[in-house]
């Protein structure tokens, strides 16, 4: 019965993918811009106090009961290259974006996908992938093209499902599992490309792959580091071998500018992450950068590096935000990013021209006071690490991390979940060759974190307001952000509340104690009703107005 219901729904046409975020949620950020600004305003500042719980839905990961489903119960389809003998401990946690297309929600967690009815959250189908292993840190969501879904698995496969039934169409290898890649990001569908990034903590090169959505054939690959003699950026590495093991993993989705065909994405940290001597003293291009890739051929149009020669595993993978707005008297096509290193940047997104840098964290202390002439922070090597311990802000989690920001054209502000924290960084590997991956250091957190919702003016980089989340414990972990034309800003705090703010000034307007919000809140509209949707662990909570 459930399968038939899904089957009647038409899929996602490519014109829908180009629309600004409103009724549907068609890609990781809702639309290609990364703004997470919804045009919906049925829920607004005036009535948000009346929001009520519409439904709750708890998902269950794993292979299901096996065999044919009983009448009326959704079926679990099982795929995967694993033999079923790998068990991943830990609760199912929804950390990704949830697609909403034609009244159906598509939800993912590592090795799992579900379709739920967007009206009431009841499950329509479930897909489970038997894993070989890999780092199961999260899954950032699915991509959609026509009637087909695409998701990545921690053991490095791109899996395509039929969205109508939950049956697998095909799967194909993204990266080498033996080289310890793990794949968590949400595929981004642009025209006839499925753009897929991956992750790695063992000095392997970061790359994006574009797959054919119909067949899964590889269309192009873009490497974030030089791979061959003569490649641009090679002079910023100690050797070709160092560059080829230099990381730069693009483990979060980018944003897309349909006018220029540029996919704009943040690259990860260089590797080895801490004991950097094997990399040489250079900038280690194109790690910790915003890069613009032409989707037609996978070639890089421009780059801007936000952390030259990072030494703290503070990647710049955060999803960039594309904004068309006034800047110093001219209408400009901009890209905004608040980086894990504690610095905010405004760039021109057609050329990569640097426009603004600011420090958005009061505590960050790893760089010198003055920026260089390119507007980049300049690292203070004494704060890399030290045998006797270096006191560094931020701790490894950074001043911000994967939880996505949002931008409101109504206020001109970028909203970022931020944290201020300290850790002692000890060098533990004295072999002059250094360590691999994340090794060679011990990072001991000083339990002094504070978390904020921070609003940044893209024109100046200045923090216009910030709200310190009140908490009895010292920790980070505020969720990603959503803002709407209803003049609302939503985010999860660090004490288990979903909170609505006035985006102009940070005044709190509403909250609900649903537990630690584990993804960024989202919104959609079906049958004339706007829903606010957030996940807390394995459970989805939808709110709506009933008066």
């Amino acid at each position: 019965m459930s399968v038939a219901l899904v089957a009647q729904k038409p899929g996602l046409d490519s014109a829908q993918l180009l629309r600004p975020l409103a009724d549907a949620w068609t890609s990781y950020s809702g639309d290609y811009s990364g703004k997470r600004y919804s045009a919906l305003k049925q829920i607004n500042q005036t009535n948000v106090k009346n929001l009520s719980l519409a439904w709750v839905s708890k998902v269950a990961g794993g292979p299901g009961r096996g065999g044919p489903a009983a009448p009326g119960t959704p079926q679990t389809f099982v795929g995967g290259e694993g033999t079923g003998d790998v068990v991943v401990a830990g609760a199912t946690t929804i950390k990704g974006s949830i697609l909403e297309v034609n009244g159906i929600l598509y939800v993912t967690a590592p090795d799992n996908a579900w379709a739920l009815d967007a009206h009431d959250g009841h499950e329509l189908w479930h897909y489970f992938w038997k894993t070989k292993g890999g780092t199961h840190i999260g899954n950032r969501g699915a991509g959609m093209w026509g009637n087909y879904l695409y998701m990545e698995t921690p053991d490095d496969y791109l899996v395509s499902l039929d969205a109508r039934t939950g049956k697998e169409r095909w799967h194909t290898e993204i990266a080498s599992f033996a080289q310890q890649y793990f794949s968590t990001t949400a595929p981004v569908v642009v025209a006839n490309h499925v753009i897929v990034g991956t992750g790695n903590d063992l000095d392997s090169p970061g790359f994006l792959t574009s797959f054919d959505p119909e067949t899964g054939a590889v269309q192009w690959k873009f490497y974030a580091v030089p791979m061959n003699p003569g490649d641009p950026g090679l002079e910023t590495w100690k050797s070709l071998d160092a560059a080829r093991h230099g990381g730069g993993q693009m483990w979060l989705p980018g944003s897309y500018d349909p006018e220029t065909h540029l996919y704009i994405v943040g690259t990860g940290n260089p590797t080895p992450a801490y004991t950097a001597q094997a990399r040489g003293d250079g900038d280690n291009l194109f790690t910790c950068a915003i890069v613009a890739i032409n989707v037609d051929d996978g070639k890089m149009a421009w780059y801007y590096q936000t952390s030259p020669h990072d030494t703290h595993d503070w990647d710049s993978a955060q999803t960039p935000v594309l904004v068309d707005a006034e800047f110093r008297g001219n209408q400009r096509k901009l890209v905004l990013t608040a980086s894990r290193n504690g610095y905010y940047f405004t760039l021109d997104r057609t050329t990569g021209e640097h426009l603004v840098t600011s420090k958005f964290s009061d505590t960050v202390n790893w760089a010198q006071a003055e920026l260089n002439r390119k507007g980049q922070p300049v690292r203070n090597p004494a704060k890399d690490y030290d045998i006797a311990g270096a006191l560094v802000s931020s701790a490894n989690g950074g001043a911000t991390n994967w939880p996505p920001p949002a931008f409101s054209p109504d206020t001109g502000l970028l909203y970022v979940p931020t944290a201020e924290s300290y850790a002692m960084y000890y060098l533990t590997e004295t072999d002059p060759r250094g360590a691999m991956g994340l090794g060679g250091k011990e990072e001991l957190n000083l339990n002094a974190s504070t978390s904020y919702m921070t609003a940044i003016d893209y024109k100046t980089g200045k923090v216009v307001w910030k709200h310190k989340y009140r908490s009895a414990s010292s920790r980070g972990g505020a969720s990603g952000v959503l803002t709407t034309a209803g003049r609302l800003l939503f985010g999860g705090d660090i004490a288990g509340n979903l909170v609505a703010f006035d985006p102009a000034n940070g005044k709190i307007l509403w909250h609900s104690a649903i537990g630690q919000v584990s993804n960024a809140p989202q919104t959609y509209m079906v049958d004339g009703r706007q829903y606010l949707l957030a996940a807390a662990g394995d459970t989805l909570y939808a709110f709506a107005l009933y008066q």
């Binding site: 000095d203 270096a390 533990t428």
Partner: protein, 283 residues
């Protein structure tokens, strides 16, 4: 590229879904490989026959170690093999073999005339080293003690002595620790630095004063606090909770570690190392 969330998962606390996924395929006696931390995410290679590894080690030592290092991690003229894609993707010499037998003239690697059996032996030796992103240190510094104890005593007198005393609460403090790193973490932020550190010093509880609009003040140990409410335990053991709306009622938190937190913005690394050098002398 470790994202946040790693800490919780590495502790491997929650096991929901464990039983559901723990069923091995029927007919296999093999027990499941349980991943409880990121360090265990990738399977290790099954150990090879020690005799084969020994023969590989001998071949490697004569032919390969000069460039690639005795431990396969690279030397002056050859890259690390341990993290090389060809080596990681190789099972038993099928990918390593062609490189060894043909050389890589463009990168200055000569060819070697090994038999296939010898290639497999060398491959087995290389694979006997674990390649891991959470790479354990092999050479560790003997001590973190580099500071000047006298300078540390001066800093302590100026900065810490308003709350602490070397002859009072910190008497014998240095003698409690065998690991100076643990001592350093503990004085920087009591309770930080892991579970063992949390046992070293008893941190007094955070207390809170709630002032009601009437002017009545309620005091107690802080249970829970967020933007919307506060819960506390009073001296008589009873718990009270108050809903808050902005600053009403007023909530004043007394965190005994606040001075330690504020000082994190003040210390220079040398101050920290000096104070540690001083505190270890408090036997």
């Amino acid at each position: 590229m470790q994202a946040i969330g790693a800490r919780a998962v590495s502790l491997g606390l929650a096991v929901a879904g464990l039983s559901a996924q723990a069923q091995p395929p029927s007919g296999q006696a093999q027990s499941p490989r349980v991943i409880t931390s990121f360090r265990e995410s990738f399977p290790t290679r099954p150990p090879a026959d020690p005799a084969v590894v020994e023969r590989g080690k001998a071949l490697y030592g004569v032919n390969c170690a000069f460039c690639h290092g005795a431990d396969t991690r690279g030397g002056d003229s050859g890259p690390s093999l341990l993290r090389a894609g060809t080596v990681l993707d190789d099972q038993k010499g099928e990918l390593i073999g062609p490189v060894v037998l043909n050389g890589r003239a463009d990168r200055g690697m000569p060819k070697f005339s090994f038999t296939m059996a010898q290639v497999e032996e060398v491959a087995a030796f290389i694979h006997s080293f674990r390649a891991a992103g959470y790479d354990d240190s092999r050479m560790t510094p003997p001590s973190i003690l580099v500071g000047d104890a006298a300078a540390g005593a001066t800093f302590f007198a100026a900065t810490c002595a308003s709350c602490h005393s070397a002859t009072g609460d910190l008497r014998g403090f240095g003698g409690k620790f065998t690991d100076p790193k643990l001592l350093q973490q503990t004085w920087l932020m009591p309770g930080s630095g892991g579970r063992l550190a949390a046992l070293m010093v008893k941190v007094p509880p955070t207390t809170v004063t709630v002032t009601l609009p009437s002017g009545e003040k309620i005091n107690g140990e802080l249970d829970r606090l967020d933007d919307f409410g506060v819960s506390l335990k009073q001296a008589d053991g009873t718990h009270r909770s108050f809903r808050t709306d902005g600053d009403t009622p007023n909530v004043e938190v007394h965190d005994p570690l606040q001075p330690h937190k504020d000082l994190l913005r003040v210390y220079k690394d040398a101050d920290i190392h000096n104070v540690t050098a001083y505190l270890v002398t408090l036997k």
